[in-house]
Symmetry: C2
Subunit: 401 residues, 2 copies
């Protein structure tokens, strides 16, 4: 927190995202008895409405203390047994870490590398699964949004590929930086474990692992032999049914989640997705048309509506851009991770945002680039973005009464 | 949260505890970049000062998203290998759950039952360990404060017993409802894993698993074969060293922890312990002298300074007392857990509390008992408590300048 700086801080990392004031106020609450008679009045409707965000009526939602990483672990340990086979494509720091977790937890991980800047190739999955006559693969993983490269994968296409191969593997989706920001349809796409966290589309601080499990995943859970305790579903299922938790839940976060879900449903999920797309497209116009730079995402089909990774010219160091933005302009940008360190900076554009906030970030990134010796024209970013927005924006309205 | 009730809510469950206003205000903060250049300015001094609370200079502290349950799991999975032997005494719901977790994670647990209302018997541990010539036991567990029964165990005596037996087992202490409230000395008592959470003595909402590991535990960690990922120490050690985290930490909670540690150190830990003892003793005077009732704790040596479990007369149902206190007097009391359901109610007296708050709780519990048909004399509880406080209280002063 840059306390020495003046004015509002511009938080444009791809999560944690801005906490809206109504959510912040809901979090600002005294502790309470999580075993009280009226506690389920909070939790039971919360679980019900959370399902709407995942677009599932058949699945079960879980809210654990933790983070997206914890939700990964919960999905894995509750549905799998030691040595079972997993198929995952690696194309960025988060698909890399997810693959690594499977390995560390004792699974047999088939990791396929594809270029960073692309995503999960549905057509390859179909081929691989068709060859897997004995159904050795138990899980196919899709990182719906690779936060490190700003790449989105087509989950529906992967489901189609799995169906075409007539393969019974479960479909796990890492939706940490997509769910509640980008279209996600658990039931329709046949997703078995949908993984998220509180600090991205849910507009809360980090602190909750949020996930949803399909009936198929819940069935697999009954036979799953991996060791688990803190993240176990059995304890949650047993206690959540009546609105309680197996151990002390972070009650202010649940109060905050109540408000954030209300805000999402009030705006309407389709409007939330459209807003994210509109802001993202403005940023992309700034990058391509305004600055003449390239995104890490190799082509429009991979472009993410929640985060853009912007490649700086080879002569420049993106770390300098990020440090200048932070130190001089009170703007937090995301860094390049792993092999992208120094090569890209990232603009996170998800959560509680509007176009004018994005314009501020575009301006700050632009000035920091110029300060760092990158030749871009002052104002060119906002010019390109606003041209797009002028054509494509409507005044917002509430979806829910 | 009883929104329909008037006036201040009286939270007297044994955690989550009251969040002091300075901590609440510190939590009321926007999200921030956990990879920013100045983030370590928060975290590095925080880790350093957290060690003061555990009274360790040699150990390492860990702060994970989670709860006390998560801290249990972190201690176990990071220091042990499948099938290794553990000694634990069971005398309440929390020692029971801890023993259960060892089992579920694949350890060989020697669970010894002693009566609920007593605690860890150091003299028995000495005998058991003396017979264990081949040093099969890798860990000895002590629940320093059994929250279910209001029983404290003598950790120093257990260390003495282990030394007398010349046994190399590690000593794990569950200090979830004791650390930062009751005397705890990690280094002096030779504790290898000290386990806590944010929602008790640390006066924060639930959401953090807080633990400390001795050099011996860190050495054991290098050979520990249990599967772990979310709660792994290796990732934390690698990133914490420079002030960062392996995944997104709940930054507002860290801001809150900064303030709560400052408050604890400003008051002075010894003064914090004395205050807890004074309030607890007032409650005990009310129970015994005022109401003529008994505590679950079988004798003064087991009495806890953070929670009292009060046995209601056989003709009464403690659940009715708790429901009346909550519904009529805006007072949250703790329920009897497991075999104690209906037989006891609990008054949690830890965290940010003073004597007059305790007087309100005593009054509310008393009226709820009378409403429930239990024969106690109106005002008798506070009369007994205040007699004690009048003799034993001084005006508070700050320890740290």
């Amino acid at each position: 927190m840059p306390r020495t700086k003046t004015g509002r801080h511009h938080l444009f990392i791809p999560g944690p995202t801005n906490v809206p004031e109504p959510v912040l106020n809901a979090l600002h609450v005294s502790s309470e008895d999580m075993r009280s008679a009226d506690f389920p009045q909070l939790t039971l409707p919360l679980f019900k409405d959370l399902k709407k965000i995942f677009k599932t009526t058949k699945g079960n939602v879980f809210v654990f203390p933790g983070s997206g990483t914890g939700a990964w672990e919960s999905a894995i340990t509750n549905t799998m047994s030691p040595g079972e086979k997993v198929l995952i494509f690696r194309f960025g720091q988060f698909s890399l870490l997810w693959a690594d977790m499977f390995k560390r937890l004792g699974l047999d991980v088939d990791v396929r590398d594809v270029p960073w800047g692309t995503g999960t190739p549905a057509e390859k999955i179909e081929k691989i699964l068709k060859k897997d006559k004995n159904h050795k693969y138990k899980v196919v993983c899709v990182t719906q949004n690779e936060t490190a490269t700003g790449v989105s994968s087509d989950v529906a296409a992967v489901r189609k590929a799995m169906n075409a191969a007539k393969h019974p593997a479960m479909l796990f989706v890492d939706g940490v930086s997509s769910i509640a920001s980008i279209d996600f349809r658990m039931d329709q796409w046949g997703v078995d474990c949908a993984i998220s966290g509180s600090q991205k589309g849910f507009m809360l601080p980090a602190g909750l692992a949020i996930l949803a499990a399909s009936p198929k995943a819940l069935k697999a859970h009954k036979k799953a032999q991996l060791k688990r305790c803190f993240y176990s579903w059995e304890d949650m299922l047993a206690t959540n049914a009546s609105g309680y938790f197996p151990y002390t839940p972070p009650t202010p976060m649940l109060r905050g989640l109540r408000v954030s879900i209300d805000m999402l449903l009030d705006e309407g999920l389709e409007n939330v997705f459209a807003r994210h797309h509109r802001i993202a497209e403005g940023v992309r116009q700034a990058v391509k048309e305004g600055w003449g730079l390239k995104l890490c995402a190799k082509g429009p089909k991979w472009e993410s509506d929640t985060v853009s990774a912007i490649i700086v010219p080879k002569s420049a160091d993106a770390r300098k851009v990020i440090a200048t933005a932070y130190g001089k302009y009170n703007l937090a940008l995301g860094a390049g991770l792993n092999i992208l360190a120094g090569k890209v900076f990232r603009i996170g554009h998800l959560g509680d945002l509007n176009e004018l906030q994005a314009a501020a970030a575009i301006t700050g990134a632009e000035m920091a680039m110029i300060d760092s010796g990158i030749k871009v024209k002052p104002g060119s970013g906002v010019a390109a973005a606003s041209k797009y927005w002028l054509k494509n924006m409507k005044a917002p309205k509430k979806a829910r009464k």
